[in-house]
Amino acid sequence: MITNNTNRYGWAAIALHWLIALIFIGQFALGFIMVRIESQRTAFELIQLHKSFGFLLLGLVTLRIAWRLGNAAPALPRSVGALERRAAPLAHFALYAFQLALPLSGWALVSVSMLEIPSMPFNLFVMPNLPLAMSDAAESFWTEAHWYLAYAGIALVVLHALAALRHHFWLRDSVLVRMITPSSDQEME
């Protein structure tokens, strides 16, 4: 099924989860490389690619949050303990917050940059800048903010992945499997 039910995720939620995971981790790697590469030309092109994927990520995350709010959230398996039951929603809320904050802080960074390089996602259209004042100080601020958010965000992703693996290999419950296999009609009452 496309939609979630109270036990399982539908394929829309699953597709969004893995697509965003791939782009999020890819963006971290791309960001890490593009600021270290020697060739100025390649660096410029990688930065434009990073911006393109950033805007794509922002669009997908917006869609994902809307989907999450408009759909049933599958309940945690009964075996999940009280502490984890409280921590999981906080961790997931933080993950969503990072998914939004990272592309937004990147957008702010390119908007305030004195270099005034237009954003043209995948060379398709011109993305307007956020209405923020340009200055070297603002650029430094958003560069740092983007950097700290990236490292904190990727740390949270690692924690999230470890928790999923713990559920699968140690606790042997359905938490990871249900983010891979969609809900089916048979399960629908």
């Binding site: 060739s39 100025q40 270099l115 237009p118 043209m120 307007p128």
Partner: protein
């Protein structure tokens, strides 16, 4: 002097145009060395979404020779040092000097050698020539307009469009236009 030329032109146009042309030309004929004082080489590249990107070259040298008997045999040579590019942003200047654009370390000179000069009006001419940058040479056209002639000093306003992709400088397209608009003021001193 410019005003006087125009004034004369108006009168001459009513009487005998070739006479005026001959007079103005013999005034201007000679060899000139482009003087950095009073000269500028500016360029603009359009940006996606509007606006543009401006820069200038601070260092260049060249000569202008205006033939006494045949304007078509006049010649312009210009050498620009891309190391001297300036945009008001150090990071952009470093980017332009790097191998992403000019590769100034390996190609320290951009050269223009005119191959033909065609007079298009009393004060304008179309200058065709070979432009060499980063080891690539193509024919380019520039419009030169006589801006003034005073004593041994001649002034031209030169404009033209160059496609940067042909010279291996296509980085940033289509965010930045492929067309580079040149706007130069070249002041030559006789001798």
């Amino acid at each position: 002097m410019y005003a006087r030329i125009l004034g004369l032109a108006a009168i001459a146009a009513c009487l005998a145009m070739p006479v005026f042309a001959a007079v103005a030309l013999s005034d201007a004929a000679g060899s000139y060395t482009i003087s950095p004082a009073g000269s500028s080489i500016r360029f603009t590249i359009g940006k996606a979404g509007g606006g543009g990107f401006d820069g200038a070259f601070a260092r260049f040298k060249g000569t202008i020779r205006i033939d006494n008997s045949d304007v078509g045999r006049s010649a312009v040579n210009l050498t620009i040092y891309p190391e001297s590019v300036g945009t008001g942003q150090n990071r952009i200047d470093a980017f332009l000097r790097s191998d992403a654009v000019f590769d100034a370390a390996n190609s320290p000179e951009i050269q223009f050698r005119s191959t033909s000069v065609k007079r298009t009006s009393d004060t304008t001419a179309l200058v065709t020539g070979q432009l060499t940058a980063r080891g690539k040479t193509f024919a380019e056209k520039f419009t030169a307009e006589l801006g003034g002639l005073k004593g041994g000093t001649i002034k031209f306003h030169v404009t033209g469009k160059v496609l940067r992709s042909r010279y291996g400088m296509d980085v940033g397209t289509p965010i930045y236009s492929n067309v580079v608009n040149f706007d130069m003021t070249l002041t030559g001193k006789r001798g």
